[in-house]
């Protein structure tokens, strides 16, 4: 299996506070890879650097053969990396339909089109409805995002992440704040949506991780403690001590 994303000796410090100290990860095409670690271990920072929200202090990131280190977020998004956020990050005053449509417009590379009316664009409309249906949001498609229930907002967050048909999907704690019933549904949904795609996942909930992931990387205060299959990780002495042991 070829490597789709390669993170090579990544360092990040925020004015003296070193959050990542030489992290290297390889994500293989088609796998579901989870990154776990205690609070403050740098999981979200890693996500933010890969997707271009922050620039790395040192180290390089390769997506296929392209060196994308330090690229701006919008450029990285266009290469086929799409992410969700730990805190809901949607367009609050737009309806679900308008939210998803904005993502579809971008996928169709029509972002700067200023001569055709958006409301009359059939292909964009059809694709938008397809995604809305895929995420079971049809019954709320005319509701502004801020009026949705938390669970539905999570779905919308996923819809925005998925609608560009990304090659690499990055989900930052997709089940944060959901109850156990909703979490089960979310796992099903994520499994269905990422079928045949590559998933990189940050998650706190170990049930989610061991349910979804093919491989797991454990991050501990800026460095990689271990990488392996869920079984290997559960058996790993150092990991047990640092993280799982507390359970």
């Amino acid at each position: 299996m070829r490597t789709i994303l390669k993170v090579d000796h990544l360092f990040k410090d925020f004015s003296g506070l070193e959050v990542l100290a030489g992290v290297s990860i390889e994500i293989r095409e088609g796998e579901r890879h989870a990154v776990i670690g205690p609070n403050g271990s740098g999981k979200t920072t890693l996500f933010n650097i890969i997707t271009g929200l922050y620039r790395p202090s040192h180290g390089r990131i390769y997506f296929f053969d392209k060196d994308i280190s330090g690229w701006p977020a919008h450029r990285i998004a266009r290469t086929g990396i799409s992410r969700s956020f730990q805190v809901i990050n949607v367009f609050p005053k737009m309806t679900v339909y308008e939210n998803v449509r904005s993502a579809v417009v971008s996928k169709f590379n029509r972002r700067f089109n200023w001569v055709s009316l958006l409301d009359r664009d059939k292909p964009i409309e059809e694709e938008t409805f397809r995604i809305i249906e895929l995420l079971s949001l049809t019954d709320v498609s005319d509701v502004p995002a801020f009026e949705l229930s938390y669970g539905k907002q999570r779905h919308l967050e996923l819809a925005l992440t998925m609608s560009r048909e990304p090659v690499l999907i990055m989900l930052d704690e997709p089940t944060a704040g959901l109850n156990s019933e909703e979490t089960k549904g979310a796992i099903q949904l994520i499994r269905r949506l990422t079928e045949g795609k590559t998933l990189l996942l940050v998650e706190h909930d170990m049930d989610v991780v061991f349910n979804l992931a093919d491989r797991v990387t454990v991050l501990g205060y800026g460095t990689i403690l271990a990488t392996g299959t869920p079984d290997e990780i559960q058996a790993h002495e150092e990991v047990k001590k640092a993280y799982l042991g507390r359970k």
Binding site: N89, F91, R111, N113, W114, D119, P144
Partner: protein, 319 residues
């Protein structure tokens, strides 16, 4: 959005009202209507940034004033330049300046954006004030309104106020309708995305900087056109059309009219100009009354006057 026949009829009646305005009212009213149209375009251009892109510029008079000065300089120095070309150059002056100034401003947001846009406008004001050999400083440049030549119609004197009204009506409406259509395109949608959540927009592939800069440039273009129309209407251009007061006028108009409705700024412009004319005919302290109205609207009617006419929620709503 479906257009009800009733709504179309209302628009038709409104258009007819605007066309027939000069035959229905006295000349002084036509003056005021011309002023309203000019300010309406200025306020709409401001609201592209404030209401739709989520940027609050405190220095929008910079582009308005550049348009006005460009028009005045052309009329004073290049004899025989067609009026429409003069106005186009004024609009382009606003456009080009907005691209240059915007490429610095839109890197910032919130209060910093407001302040840096204000500083650029103050710089332009200082140039207009100090560079007396060109701009005549605060005495201003006065000129005679040139005639308009149109194919088929021939010479049209703009000394006739009705003709000036129609020129302003056509150009301001074109500008305002143009803005309306831009907002209905993917580009307009991108502007709203940036306002709603710029981080999310960039992770969907939108270049936030470029979207903001484009909005800024279109806004500058329209403000420049409004400035040119203002110059031709006034037959004099002085530093008052590029100063801080002029920058605050669209802010007031948009807040009064309502930033979350496309026509809010138009309503605000009409309200502002008409009220100013009416109160100032009675007392010299019209600013106090205007200020009080402004405070009341901010306190009790945050959606502006437009929210009185629109019942349902409007997703484009500003803050």
């Amino acid at each position: 959005m479906r257009h009800l026949p009733l709504r179309r009829l209302a628009w038709l009646l409104f258009a007819a009202f605007l066309v027939l305005f000069p035959s229905l009212f006295r000349e002084i009213r036509v003056h005021i209507a011309t002023e309203v149209l000019t300010y309406a375009l200025f306020a709409v251009s401001f609201n592209l940034l404030f209401g739709y892109t989520g940027l609050l510029p405190f220095g929008h008079a910079g582009f308005f004033g550049l348009g006005a000065y460009a028009a005045a300089l052309i009329i004073s120095h290049i004899h025989g330049m067609p009026v429409l070309v003069t106005l186009l150059v004024g609009a382009l002056a606003g456009f080009v300046a907005a691209i240059i100034i915007g490429s610095v401003c839109v890197r910032l947001s919130g209060a910093y954006f407001a302040l840096i846009s204000l500083s650029f406008q103050m710089f332009l004001f200082a140039v207009a004030y100090e560079w007396r050999s060109v701009t005549n400083g605060d005495d201003g440049m006065s000129f005679v309104r040139p005639d308009l030549y149109l194919p088929l119609l021939g010479k049209i004197s703009l000394q006739n106020f009705n003709n000036l009204y129609y020129l302003t009506l056509v150009l301001a409406s074109m500008g305002i309708i143009g803005c309306y259509f831009v907002l209905k395109t993917p580009l307009g949608n991108a502007m709203v995305c940036v306002r709603e959540k710029d981080v999310r927009a960039s992770f969907l592939g939108y270049n936030v900087f470029l979207v903001k800069l484009t909005a800024f440039a279109i806004s500058g273009l329209m403000a420049g056109l409004a400035g040119g129309l203002f110059a031709i209407y006034q037959e004099v251009v002085a530093t008052t059309c590029i100063d801080n007061n002029m920058s605050m006028i669209p802010v007031l108009m948009v807040v009064i009219g309502g930033p979350s409705h496309f026509l809010g700024p138009v309503l605000g412009a009409a309200f502002y100009v008409v009220l100013q004319d009416w109160i100032s005919s009675m007392t010299g302290y019209w600013m106090i009354i205007m200020g009080a109205i402004f405070v009341l609207i901010i306190l009790y009617l945050q959606g502006g006057l437009a929210s009185l006419f629109t019942s349902s929620r409007v997703w484009r709503g500003g803050e």
